[in-house]
C-alpha cells in the first residue's frame, strides 16, 4: 500500500528521464568534468520526485523512528491494552499519521492480539486541516470481522486512539472503507462522523 513511487538507483530510466540524464551529464561534464558526473549521477536518481506528499515514510530510506503507543486486545478480550512500539518517522503530519496507522493495522507482534482483522490494509490517510484525520481501510476490515458491539468498538478505537493519542494535533478520526464513508463496520459503531479519542476502552493504570 506504499505510495512511494520514486525511482531507485537501479531503476531503468524512462526516455524523458534518460534525456534529462544525458543533458545533466553533458552540462556536468562541461563544468566539473567527468569525475564529478560519477559523484552526482547516483545522488540525482535517488532523490524522491518533487510531488511526493503521499510518500509513506516507512518505505523511504529514512530509518528514523519514533516511540508510539499502539493498542491491542487484552487477555480477557474486554478492553484494549497500550503497548509502546517503534514506528517509522514521518516528515509531515500526514506521513506520521499514516506510519502509525500502518503499524497499528499490521499483524501484531508475537504475544499480542490485534483488534483489526487480518489482511486489512491502509488505502490512504488524509487530514482536513481542522484536526480530523480520515483513514481509508481495505474491505477486509469488514469482511474479516468477527462482529459484535464489543469487538467492533475495539477495532474502531484502536485506530482512533492510535492517531489521537500519538498526534495531539489530531482530535478526531473517521474511518472509511474502500474509499467510501460507511455508517458502521459491522452494524453497531457510529462511523458517520469523525470519532474522538476514547480511553474508556483502554485498561486503566498501565
Amino acid at each position: 500500500m506504499s505510495a512511494t513511487s520514486g525511482p531507485g538507483p537501479t531503476s531503468p530510466p524512462s526516455s524523458k528521464r534518460g534525456l534529462s540524464v544525458a543533458i545533466a551529464v553533458v552540462i556536468a561534464g562541461l563544468i566539473v568534468g567527468a569525475g564529478a558526473v560519477a559523484l552526482l549521477l547516483p545522488h540525482w536518481l535517488a532523490s524522491p520526485p518533487a510531488a511526493d506528499a503521499g510518500t509513506s515514510p516507512a518505505a523511504t530510506s529514512d530509518a528514523r523512528t519514533i516511540h508510539a503507543v499502539l493498542f491491542y486486545v487484552s487477555d480477557d478480550g474486554s478492553e484494549l491494552i497500550e503497548v509502546s512500539r517503534e514506528v517509522a518517522f514521518g516528515e509531515t503530519p500526514v506521513d506520521q499519521a499514516r506510519s502509525i496507522v500502518e503499524a497499528q493495522v499490521a499483524a501484531a507482534p508475537p504475544g499480542l492480539t490485534s483488534a483489526i482483522p487480518a489482511g486489512t490494509t491502509v488505502r490512504s490517510v488524509f487530514l482536513d486541516g481542522h484536526g480530523a484525520a480520515y483513514v481509508d481501510l481495505s474491505r477486509e476490515v469488514v469482511t474479516g470481522h468477527t462482529g459484535g458491539s464489543l469487538d467492533e468498538a475495539l477495532t474502531v478505537f484502536s485506530i482512533v486512539n492510535a492517531i489521537t493519542v500519538n498526534l495531539p494535533d489530531i482530535s478526531a478520526v473517521q474511518i472509511l472503507v474502500d474509499g467510501h464513508a460507511v455508517d458502521t463496520l459491522v452494524g453497531h459503531l457510529d462511523l458517520r462522523h469523525p470519532l474522538g479519542r476514547s480511553l474508556e476502552w483502554v485498561r486503566k493504570g498501565q
Binding site: V73, S78, D183, V186, D190, G196, S198
Partner: protein, 479 residues
C-alpha cells in the same frame, strides 16, 4: 385474533403514480419477487438482457444497475448492493426482489419509494401511507379494541352486525401493527385499502365506539351483559387505560432484533447466526410482555429482513413507542469472553453537535401564546434521552443479574451506537451473550438462558411501567 383466515395478498399496491397499480408477487423463500418488466414500465426505465451472462441491465437516468440471475446482489455503478432474495428469470421474464425498488431504483431515480412488506404497499414520491396500530385487550366486561393512527388522519366508523369497519381518510393504511387477542370477541382483522375491517367473534353482542382525533376505542360486550359505560375520549397520551392495559408511562415497546438478511451478524462456533438467535428471542419476549403486562410490543422485523438502521429508527419513532430495546449477540476474539452486556448511547462522541442544538425558539401558536420549539437533528434524536436510557440500562442490568444471567466483565457501557443515536425515546442495546463462546452459544440457542433473559426483560418493563424509572435525571440530559 387469527390473521391466517385472510389469504396473503397476491400483489403489492403501488400508490403515488397516476393511478393505483398492482405488482403481482412471486414468493421466493422469505423474499417477495416482482416482475421486472412491470417495474420498468411503471417507472419508465429501460432493461437490456444479456443472455450469455444470464444478466439484465436496468438503465435509470443514465445509471446502470446490473442484475445476475440467481444472485441476491445488484451492481450499481460498480458498487454491490445486497437484496433480500435472488434475482430469477424464466421463460415468462425476469423477477426481482421488491426491495430493489426502495434500495436501488428509488435512489437512482432520485425518487422516494417506500416498500412496506407487511402491508404490501409501495408508496412513491409524496404518497403517504397512514400507519394504523391496533391493540386488543381483554377487560372485565368483555374486550376493547384500541385503534391509533397519526393525528390529522380522519376516520369514520360503521357497524353492520358482524363487522366493524374503520374507514380512514387516506390513500391507504399500513395496518400491520396489531397486538393482543380475544378470539371470542374479535375473530379476525384485516386491511382493505384504507379500511380496517374487524370481524366480530361469537361473543361480541354489544358494540360501543368512541372517537377522538387519532384514536378509536371499540368496546365489545358479551350477550349477557350490557355494553360497558361510555369511555371519555381524550387524546392518546392521556387516555385512560383498559383494565389490564398499561399505565400511560409505557404503552408501546419496540423490540429490534439485530441484523437480518445478508447481514448475518456473528456466526457461532457451532454455526448459529446472530440474526436468527435474536429474532427467536425477540418473539418470545414479545409474547411474554404482551400476555403478562398488556404492553403492546412491535418488532422492527418479523422475518429474515435486511433492514438498515435508519429504517429501524424510523419504525420506532413513527410508532410513537415509549421504549426501544435492540437485541444482539456479542463476539470476541477471545473465546473465553462470555456474559451479557447492556449499552446505551454514550454522549462523549456527540457533545459538540449536541451543544450546537441550542435551547430552542419561542414560536407563536394558534389561539395565542407561544411554545418552545427545539430543533434536534433526526440523527441525534436520542440525545435528550441520554440519562433516561442510562436508567433503563441500569434497570435492565439489575434484572438480568436477579435472573442469574451471567454478565460480561464490562456489563454496562455507553457507546456511539448508530442504532440508538436517532431513537426518539429511551433506548438500549442488549448484547445477550457471546455467540463466539461455545457455552453462551448453546445457552442462547435453546438453553435455560433464554427463559432467564425473557424474564429479566419482562421484569424490567414491568418495573419501569409502575415506577416511572424512565423519568429524566435533572441536569444529566443536555437540554
Amino acid at each position: 385474533m387469527t390473521r391466517a383466515q385472510t389469504p396473503p395478498p397476491s400483489a403489492y399496491t403501488v400508490l403515488g403514480l397516476d393511478t393505483r397499480k398492482l405488482l403481482p408477487i412471486r414468493p421466493f423463500g422469505t423474499a417477495d419477487l416482482v416482475p421486472l418488466d412491470q417495474v420498468a414500465a411503471m417507472f419508465g426505465v429501460t432493461t437490456t438482457e444479456d443472455r450469455p451472462t444470464a444478466s439484465v441491465t436496468i438503465t435509470a437516468k443514465g445509471q446502470r444497475i446490473v442484475l445476475t440471475s440467481g444472485q441476491s446482489l445488484a451492481s450499481v455503478g460498480g458498487k454491490l448492493v445486497s437484496l433480500s432474495g435472488p434475482v430469477t428469470h424464466d421463460r415468462t421474464g425476469w423477477f426481482v426482489p421488491v426491495d430493489l425498488l426502495s434500495r436501488i431504483l428509488g435512489p437512482a431515480l432520485n425518487l422516494h419509494i417506500d416498500v412496506r412488506r407487511p402491508s404490501h404497499l409501495i408508496a412513491v414520491g409524496a404518497a403517504s401511507v397512514a400507519v394504523v396500530t391496533t391493540r386488543i385487550d381483554r377487560v372485565a366486561s368483555g374486550a376493547r379494541i384500541t385503534v391509533d393512527t397519526e393525528s390529522g388522519v380522519g376516520h369514520h366508523v360503521t357497524h353492520d352486525g358482524t363487522r366493524v369497519l374503520v374507514q380512514f381518510d387516506a390513500p391507504a393504511i399500513d395496518g400491520s401493527a396489531t397486538s393482543g387477542s380475544a378470539p371470542e370477541f374479535v375473530a379476525n382483522t384485516h386491511v382493505d385499502g384504507a379500511t380496517l375491517v374487524i370481524d366480530l367473534g361469537p361473543s361480541a353482542a354489544g358494540v360501543r365506539t368512541t372517537n377522538s382525533s387519532g384514536r378509536v376505542v371499540i368496546d365489545l360486550a358479551p350477550a349477557s351483559s350490557a355494553p360497558p359505560p361510555p369511555t371519555p375520549v381524550t387524546p392518546p397520551a392521556q387516555t385512560v387505560a383498559p383494565d389490564l392495559g398499561p399505565p400511560a408511562g409505557v404503552r408501546t415497546v419496540v423490540l429490534d432484533p439485530g441484523h437480518g438478511g445478508a447481514d448475518t451478524g456473528v456466526r457461532g462456533p457451532h454455526g448459529s447466526l446472530e440474526k436468527d438467535v435474536v429474532l427467536q428471542i425477540a418473539r418470545q419476549v414479545k409474547q411474554a410482555v404482551e400476555s403478562r403486562l398488556g404492553i403492546r410490543v412491535l418488532l422492527t422485523r418479523e422475518g429474515d429482513d435486511d433492514l438498515p438502521s435508519d429504517k429501524r429508527t424510523a419504525f420506532a419513532n413513527n410508532a410513537r413507542a415509549d421504549v426501544f430495546i435492540s437485541l444482539h449477540a456479542n463476539a470476541s476474539l477471545r473465546a473465553s469472553a462470555h456474559g451479557a452486556e447492556v449499552f446505551s448511547l454514550g454522549l462523549d462522541q456527540y457533545k459538540a453537535r449536541a451543544a450546537a442544538i441550542g435551547t430552542g425558539d419561542l414560536v407563536p401558536v394558534v389561539g395565542g401564546g407561544t411554545r418552545l420549539i427545539q430543533a434536534v437533528p433526526w440523527e441525534l434524536a436520542q440525545i435528550p434521552y441520554i440519562s433516561r436510557s442510562a436508567n433503563l440500562a441500569a434497570t435492565t442490568l439489575r434484572h438480568l443479574s436477579a435472573q442469574n444471567v451471567p454478565l460480561f466483565a464490562r456489563a454496562s457501557e455507553g457507546a456511539p451506537l448508530v442504532g440508538l443515536a436517532g431513537i426518539n425515546m429511551p433506548a438500549i442495546l442488549v448484547e445477550m451473550g457471546f455467540l463466539s463462546n461455545p457455552d453462551d452459544e448453546r445457552a442462547l440457542t435453546g438453553g435455560d438462558l433464554v427463559g432467564s433473559l425473557v424474564e429479566a426483560l419482562v421484569d424490567t418493563l414491568g418495573e419501569i411501567r409502575s415506577s416511572g424509572a424512565l423519568s429524566p435525571v435533572p441536569g444529566l440530559d443536555p437540554r
